[in-house]
Symmetry: D2
Subunit: 369 residues, 4 copies
């Protein structure tokens, strides 16, 4: 059993492999008449693509988006949109070497048991982080639609290893934060912490090791009253989408795990009327109560595990001989995947939240004003 389709009205179907011909996505349910901004899709892909700095993998890919269906006279038609990027730098000789070794914390063993040895193992094939480029393309379309209703989705690197930026940015001036983030090679907001994070990545790279981190995401201007109890909760659907991104191992909304240590009198967000608007004085709920949006920013954070591929010697098993062995992996990889995953997290949040709006019959007008 496989499942590469997600969403109810705004529905995406992902396909492609790391070292096959391409990585692509079918985006279904896009209202007709949207002027698709291909440059924007490209700029989003560029934030994820390899080779942006010395901190990322040495794989060279231009990741140029091609739109193969669903657009006519530069606008969406209501038909499914097929977007792809081609794979070019697909030397997979290095993977052949390790074919019989279970690389620690990689899918070798579980994929073997699931797919009986037929899975494409080149560059992790269907399990590669490269698959997330498909989410970025779909997310770029979702963001364009959300923007018509002034809804913005913004994520940034909150921590790398032990360096944590704990400030509760609220995205009151989005442009400012975008500029701060784009100045940072690790997509952090605080310039000093950014340097410390960069240093950690450089260090683990030299050590032939890798490092994890966290990403925080804030959605502004999402309307109140969207979502629902039980299986229609915004948390349920965002988490379902987010855990489809490789290497994510945790998610928390609002105060998250901190809430577990709090008293109700601390955690509860008091309501006030301010500027004629009903709102809360703080947002430990992360903008969601009872699975439904409150009108406050939707906030969540995710944990990204350290890249599994490392050059350091590791203990493992030769699956053919069943002997315990030691391996040193080669191959191209990022010492820290967090900076490139920031735009992926944004994309998935945009995809899920747009679907929520469409399910409520709240279709943003996509036509040019």
């Amino acid at each position: 059993m496989a499942d590469n389709t997600f969403g109810k009205i705004f529905k995406i179907t992902s396909f492609g492999e790391s070292h096959g011909d391409l990585v692509g996505i079918i985006v279904d349910g896009v209202p007709a008449g949207l002027k698709v901004d291909a440059d924007f899709i490209q700029s989003e892909l560029d934030k994820r693509k390899p080779g942006q700095s010395g901190l990322t993998t040495s794989r060279l890919e231009s990741d140029k988006v091609q739109i193969l269906s669903g657009i006519f006279k530069n606008k969406t038609t209501g038909a499914p949109i097929c977007l792809i990027i081609r794979n070019k730098d697909i030397d997979s000789s290095k993977y052949e070497v390790f074919k019989n070794f279970l690389r620690p914390s990689q899918v070798d063993y579980s994929a073997l048991k699931k797919f009986g040895g037929f899975a494409d193992y080149r560059g992790s094939g269907r399990f590669s982080g490269r698959i997330t480029a498909s989410f970025v393309m779909a997310g770029a379309i979702a963001k364009q639609i959300l923007k018509k209703s002034n809804i913005t989705v913004f994520a940034y690197t909150k921590s790398i290893g032990d360096v944590v930026d704990d400030e509760s940015y609220i995205m009151d001036d989005l442009e400012k934060y975008i500029q701060l983030r784009e100045k940072s090679s690790v997509r952090a907001l605080n310039a000093e912490k950014s340097k410390l994070m960069e240093k950690i990545i450089e260090d683990v790279k030299i050590q032939k090791d890798s490092i994890g981190g966290t990403i925080r995401c804030i959605v502004n201007n999402f309307p109140e009253g969207i979502g629902g109890p039980v299986f229609n909760s915004i948390e349920s659907n965002i988490s379902k989408g987010i855990f489809s991104i490789p290497a994510i191992k945790a998610i928390e909304f609002g105060a998250g795990f901190k809430a577990a240590k709090m008293k109700g009198s601390e955690h509860n967000d008091p309501w006030i009327v301010k500027d004629g608007k009903i709102q809360t004085t703080k947002n430990d709920a992360g903008g969601i109560i009872g699975g439904i949006s409150t009108g406050m920013p939707i906030e969540f954070a995710v944990a990204v595990k350290p890249t599994a591929t490392i050059g350091k010697p590791q203990k493992t098993v030769n699956i053919e001989t069943l002997e315990n062995v030691e391996i040193e992996l080669r191959g191209r990889h990022d010492p820290c995947i967090v900076p490139r995953a920031v735009v992926v997290v944004e994309a998935m949040a945009a995809i899920v939240l747009l679907d929520h709006l469409l399910l409520e019959g709240k279709v943003p007008s996509v036509l040019e004003s």
Copy 2:
């Protein structure tokens, strides 16, 4: 838009309200021929039901399960199974008093915006924790089926407030842990910590306050090779189910948020051959790599926020007059919901994992041997 149905083959549909006639669930996709153990369903419900100790709400409910369909001659027929519990102690007069006040961190405002004032507000109606009794009933059936394949699902209270039990129990002797847990009024495993946790709950109760906590869940003997990349990942589906439980605000698999601070060389789980079996020497992956089970225990933890209903004075808004006011809530509630949520977390894990097995065509034999 609502969504009260979950699952693909083992599919549940939840219904009912806190202070309506009943709370119920339709369980579809149960293989025919299973001898349903109603006593077991009841014993699971009993772990969740109110009034188990002085630490829980004063609401009195016997929560006796009734099976209304899908069973013939004491066995499942392949038809949908309808299970209900009746609501009895449904004095809702206290809720009328607070009808115009937005209770902090409760659904009053978001539900108002979603349902236009028509939602059943008595005892939080459809948003009540009482709805989780429906999950417990479905989970009890799922557990009976999983047990036929020796798969066990076990959860316990890992922390209440600042008291954390950080031991990495691996459920090697399940019976022992069940007994330890059932001895603890807060469903913890460590007797000393259990007392400390109990003390915290008693304290916040006296303070008319509440407290959060965490629950850890371990699934043993789940076969390797189940799940998949992208939207079929086990993390995606467990998290989708878990966030359908009210008050859950975070989830982490394996090392979870700790992974974000780790190096690859620390986080990677080395493979070894031991006792003729391929396994890892530790389990920071939480039994899932690439969305697929590895054969190691599936492990996750969740954060439960403090009960929103507290007696302490709170600032809020009168929705009719739009004035800022202060309220002191009355009504029956738990100062800490964690102990009663333990069995709910187990239930949802069992529901999701059974569906995963059925989707792979790995239908456990349900017949009596």
Copy 3:
């Protein structure tokens, strides 16, 4: 694998058996604030219930609807609505006698192979026509919502055996047609043909035989532009729902099978502007082109097979001894199920079409004006 849930936003989950405790349905996705007219639901059930005349089964059931959830202060809350009828006249002794015989054209064999002998065989259990009472209850709610937008769903008996009423009624005066139909014991519109149909049913009843027929359904005032190509076509979804009704073996939209004999110049419906409105001069398309509504009435017809249970001697097999034998079935049954199925066909059409509207974000206002 079972599947008792249908629909995307207006979603129904059916449960119960012919001779179990009850037959019921969960109706999810109903907008909040609808004043549910329980009398109307009952009047719809009454059109389906047994014992309406000498032409139907002798089983006695009052089929009184009970609403167990989802309603508060007489209005829908947005929560799932649980509706049930109890089974009362459940003497199933007659079914025990035939337990080892494969009743021709009944589910005995296929159900045995599917459910391994565990299916509830009393009164055909989950396969009984009685299950359609659950669709009628859900359909009654859908009709109430559609009516707010002036959309009407009307079906009638078009033929019993060889007696066919081929007139192309267009429901210009719905009240008139309702009265004509309710005067007819077989739910036909033409009084003379009604008598002939009645005669056929009486004759087959005397012969211990049964007879089939057809039902035609017309939906007026359904808005144009709803549905879509491929898997979102109105025909796809109506047919999916209609074939969930036992005993239906064929469906055709508009000219249907007649279209197969027509030339394009005959079949094509010319467009005209009339009374300022764009419409077609005839409706061989059945109100649907390219899977999308045209604004003309949606029209379809279905074939109902003759009741499988007949008293005449029939050749069959004893499943225990594997001998070829002859049986004469007893038990209560209708000699012709068509008249009672009319309201079921209407119900399913209403359910599907309301879901189509909700999926387009065209939520009819359900509030009282």
Copy 4:
């Protein structure tokens, strides 16, 4: 709202347009290890492609299949398979001329109302029969898998206009029937009737008109006990798929509409034990009782309406001026679409029935023996 994804485990997502870059399909849920026979896929496409004879459209397309993902070392990997054909002969100038005229019985009006004028109108865009090439590719994969279990799907032209071949072929010698069919330019089985059908098509072509017909489909060796009551019935799912094919307006299973005129004693299929196997002496049930397969051949027939595009003068409306006008359509089209639709009907049946098997956990072994 759009919906271009179908199926639960064997899941297809269709994309592309008649005159865009391509027509394609994502096939998800294919078990790993299947050696895909691209030549077979091509031979299936060739049966549908234009220009096979003087009876089809003059559009020239080679329709060469390209497989873009999901295959590694010539075998399926368990990842989604992307298959496409390119569009080459895409002169769409003729469609510009008719842009403001509502072509009778074509989607111009309903698509306008649905997509607000943004739909790709060239060659009917997303509504084109050309989209069914995507179903043929997916169906070719489904057939390869079904064949591993000896399940065969065979369809043929049963009628064109008034020429009907009413023989009840049972596919006892499949190879023979395939040869008969492939000898016929209209894909009929009876050589004489084939000539008469051919004559009709030639005549309507000369008359600048078109003609409808019917297709009958028989599935052999499908195992008993697959499907279910209510929404899991085989009829429900086959019909849902079949009505996703443009121009289909009716479907009947087994005796179908004939059943409506039959008595139970005529329609019921007697069970016998023959050659040690339980079977029925005839098959008016079409191999399905209670929604579940009986082990007899699954049989259904569909009606295909006459091609809407005809050269004869037709009355219609100019949508800009709202004047009643007369048009004579040009553009390439088939005078009868039935022969090319035969393989499409087979494909959809294969797709649905394979999904049914997978849902039961009856995964055919796809590995080479």
